[in-house]
């Protein structure tokens, strides 16, 4: 039974060679919006398998809408979403989780009156009991702090710990493509470093990451590829190291800093 399963993205580590774990995400001319009000005007991007792709852009550019559409929380108006070259079948978030995708949403949306352990268990809602137990060990391996607090109520933890839990909860479904919406938002600098280090480890184990970030320079430092989203449209793309020196990125980022 285990042999028929896709290879486990975790337990860690899985460096150098081995089977391909991460999914490739290919978004083509995606349009979406709220109640007839278009937010995305035809977005195309590729998040290559096993790599970290970062998506930056000003507030209101449509980054969160894009991730929510990819996760099946809101329906697209038109366009295609393919993983490993296959069009997605089914349209609910559960279908996406079964396909190996998971979203760590902006604002985390943890279960505040449930323990850390219960939050993690629900992260593996669609997995078998054995898989849940195995993944719980892996997640605790990545975030030892969660292991120390399995019985604590999620709502009583610090912002940084809650973010770790949100990522841990998403990992419980054994995602091969992990979408993250502003994971560093509101975290203390030390926590931000810790979180980026954890993301790097998760990626090293093979999982593809698509990361939306305001923390542009730190995100570009861990990413392989980067996209810059303007108002509902892609305005720049390239290798992360190229975009790090890009004047446009600096302008978007500075504009963001002044606006914020």
């Amino acid at each position: 039974m285990r042999a028929a399963q896709p290879p486990l993205p975790l337990p860690l580590p899985r460096e150098g060679g081995g089977e391909k774990v991460g999914l490739e995400l290919d978004v083509g001319d995606l349009r979406a919006g709220y109640g007839g009000l278009p937010v995305l005007h035809g977005i195309s991007l590729i998040a290559p398998a096993g790599r970290i792709t970062v998506l930056v852009g000003a507030n209101g550019a449509g980054k969160t809408t894009l991730l929510k559409t990819l996760a099946g929380v809101m329906p697209p108006v038109s366009g295609s979403v393919r993983v490993d070259g296959e069009a997605l079948s089914g349209d609910t978030p559960a279908d996406r989780v079964r396909r190996g995708m998971a979203l760590v949403p902006e604002g985390r949306h943890l279960f505040p009156d449930m323990s850390v352990r219960e939050n993690l268990e629900l992260g593996g809602y669609l997995a078998t009991r054995a898989q849940r137990e195995e993944m719980l060990d892996s997640v605790v391996g990545i975030f030892p702090r969660l292991g120390e607090r399995l019985t604590q109520m999620a709502g009583t933890m610090s912002g940084g710990e809650q973010q770790m839990l949100a990522i841990g909860r998403a990992l419980m479904s054994r995602p091969r493509l992990l979408l993250l919406d502003e994971p560093s938002l509101g975290l203390a600098p030390k926590m931000v470093d810790e979180m980026f280090a954890a993301l790097r480890r998760i990626n090293k184990a093979g999982t593809t990451l698509l990361l939306v970030e305001q923390n542009v320079f730190q995100a570009l430092a861990v990413a392989d590829f980067a996209y810059v989203l303007g108002h509902g449209e892609m305005i720049a793309e390239g290798a992360a190291w190229e975009l790090r020196g890009n004047a446009l990125i600096k302008r978007v980022y500075l504009g963001e800093a002044i606006a914020g």
Partner: protein, 291 residues
């Protein structure tokens, strides 16, 4: 007050409180999960009571035989109502407030339909078929057997529901939907099956309360209304979505009503319930157990 009277009142209060708990648990799930302000909730209690009564009358058998199939029937009726009405309301309501307002109006409609159907079939007067009303004696304390039975069944049902919500993955999923709907969707919890199931469970629990009441009290087509009010008070006391809180609130309300009515008069019942509500809200505005 002598000791035996005190025990009498405590038992009566626990029976009332237990019924309130079972009724309120279902309404709490319906409102907490789906923002369905089901003002017709008590009508399903009434239907459960008449259904049980009618079958007892025809067959002469114990009402306990008919309560489980009646609960299954109400569960299925709940699935049907959700499918026909509330799913559509949820899909077309722009936000939670609109959903509450619209479901309230639909609830009034269901209430009128249910009461008038019952009146058409069973008449507007009181009907009843007491079961097991022989007294049971423990030393000097005497309690009617049927009340004791009601108490045991509602306690077991409440405890079972709490355990399912606390311990099973499915129960945790329901609590997850209550606490963070988007978070629940993202981990793959399928609201399209769990919402109707929880709505149906609410009806089944109201029916259970009705079936038990049919062994103790007279029935009328309007008997459900006060239970809807009590359930709303209990939910406010216990905190929305807080299941153990609702049970504690229900017991508190049941005891307060029973003792209050004994020392004043039965006509004061509503005043006492609202008194408890106002008192708790003044002291603990977010409910008894808010952190």
């Amino acid at each position: 007050m002598n000791f035996y009277l005190f025990i009498d009142l405590v038992v009566a209060g626990l029976v009332t409180g237990g019924i309130y708990a079972v009724v309120a648990l279902g309404l709490n799930l319906q409102y907490g999960l789906m923002r369905i302000m089901n003002i017709a909730h008590g009508e399903f209690l009434m239907l459960g009571a008449y259904f049980t009564y009618a079958l007892v009358k025809v067959t002469g058998a114990s009402p306990l035989w008919f309560i489980p199939p009646m609960m299954v029937a109400l569960f299925l009726l709940g699935l049907l109502l959700h499918r026909l009405i509330f799913r559509l309301l949820a899909a077309t309501s722009p936000n939670a407030e609109a959903m509450e307002a619209r479901s309230l109006i639909v609830g009034f409609g269901l209430m009128f339909i249910a009461q008038n159907v019952a009146q058409l079939i069973w008449g507007g007067g009181m009907s009843g078929q007491p079961y097991l009303d022989a007294p049971v004696t423990f030393g000097e304390v005497t309690v009617a057997a049927n009340r004791l039975l009601v108490l045991v069944v509602v306690a077991a049902a409440s405890l079972a529901l709490v355990l399912v919500l606390k311990k099973t993955l499915l129960g945790k999923a329901v609590r997850g939907m209550l606490q963070a709907p988007l978070g629940a969707m993202l981990v793959g919890i399928d609201t399209r099956t769990l919402h109707p199931a929880c709505f149906g469970l609410g009806l089944a629990l109201a029916g259970l309360a009705g079936g038990l009441l049919s062994m103790v009290y007279e029935l009328t087509p309007a008997m459900g209304e006060p239970y809807t009010i009590s359930a709303l008070i209990v939910i406010t006391l216990g905190g929305l979505g807080n299941i153990p809180g609702a049970i504690a609130g229900a017991i508190l309300l049941g005891l307060a009503e029973t003792f209050g009515m004994y020392f004043t008069s039965p006509s004061m019942k509503i005043l006492i319930s609202y008194g408890v509500l106002v008192g708790v809200l003044l002291l603990r505005p977010k409910g008894l157990f808010a952190r």
